[in-house]
């Protein structure tokens, strides 16, 4: 009887805890990548809000060019581990005055990073007014 009561109590605890609100890890107060390279100070363009990601990912290259008057950006990301994991990224675009240029909503795009893989994350500005960009990466 005593054991049954204990088991029932444990089951109730699980039921109660399953109704607890789920906390999400939205970007906010993110941490910029501290290390740059090449001609770019990567921290000006890349925002990674997760310490584990900062440890596991490395931005190896950022390139930009103009195509049809629109800024095209390519950010190369290296998975420094042998593990496969998922990331999400989102480009934001800004005009020359620093005002955000919004396309059709801003959304997160999922990407799978295989072990030791280098992946290119590509973005194209929504309008010719966009002359600056920022990419946010999260788990």
């Amino acid at each position: 009887m005593f054991k049954k009561l204990l088991l029932l109590a444990a089951a109730c605890c699980i039921l109660v805890s399953s109704c607890a609100p789920v906390t999400s890890s939205n970007v906010g107060g993110g941490q910029a990548l501290p290390q740059g390279g090449g001609d770019y100070a990567f921290s000006n363009f890349v925002l990674i809000n997760n310490k584990a990601l900062l440890r596991d990912l490395q931005i190896t290259d950022i390139r930009q060019k103009m195509v049809n008057d629109l800024m095209q950006v390519q950010v190369q990301v290296l998975n420094k581990t042998s593990r496969t994991f998922s990331i999400q990224y989102s480009f934001s675009w800004f005009d020359a005055s620093g005002f955000q240029v919004v396309g059709v909503g801003e959304h997160w795009i999922p990407a799978v990073m295989n072990g030791n893989e280098v992946k290119s994350l590509n973005g194209v500005a929504p309008t010719p007014e966009a002359t600056q960009f920022k990419i946010q990466i999260r788990k």
């Binding site: 095209q72 959304h107 999922p110």
Partner: protein, 199 residues
């Protein structure tokens, strides 16, 4: 002593049961429409947004656009998957993003041809519209290109594992010459596994 413990445990169990049954009121909260949607394997908002973004990016940097600001006619993406997908929503997202770029123009004929015609007939025939502002028949601009495509899927399941693969193909054809000037495809693969012990 044992009787006291049993009584105490009974009270706790009753309280926890009460919490479990009545302690979880429905709460409503706003979410981020751009957040990644992993609720189910079905075609979701993230798939729609990813497909639209990749297709728009590919078309915007295509040489076929250049500085010409061509006029496009959009044909709704065909759904060749086994599930219900609102392909008009995909088509709308793509055409809206393309239009906002300022690099293309769209003819409304594909969507509201009947309404346009009715409005023209009203202006011409109702006798209510100032002749100086009446719009004339035969002045619409003919589209240069037609944008069309389809979405297909392959579904597989084995035991507790499920896998779904979507492929969307879009093409841009020159209406006069019939030549396909641009085409691209985007693939999405999603998988799920049922937990062995799930609630």
């Amino acid at each position: 002593m044992i009787r006291n413990v049993r009584f105490f445990l009974s009270v706790i169990v009753t309280a926890l049961l009460g919490l479990a049954l009545f302690g979880c009121p429905t709460t409503v909260q706003y979410g981020d429409p751009g957040a990644v949607d992993t609720m189910t394997l079905d075609f979701g908002s993230t798939d729609l947004q990813t497909i639209a973004e990749k297709m728009v990016q590919s078309l915007l940097v295509s040489p076929v656009l250049g500085d010409k600001r061509p006029v496009l006619f959009v044909s709704q993406v065909k759904n060749k998957t086994a599930e219900h997908i609102d392909t008009k929503s995909i088509t709308d997202s793509i055409s809206t993003a393309l239009l906002k770029s300022g690099k293309v123009r769209f003819t409304a004929a594909s969507e509201i041809n009947k309404d346009l015609l009715e409005q023209l007939e009203y202006q011409q025939n109702a006798g209510l519209v100032n002749p100086a502002t009446q719009k004339q028949f035969g002045k619409q601009i003919g589209a240069d290109y037609m944008l069309y495509g389809e979405i297909t899927s392959i579904n597989k399941s084995a035991g507790r594992k499920k896998d779904v693969y979507y492929k969307i193909t879009l093409k841009l054809a020159d209406i006069e010459s019939g030549i396909i000037e641009w085409a691209d495809e985007k693939e999405i693969r999603k998988g799920s596994q049922k937990a062995f012990l799930g609630m």
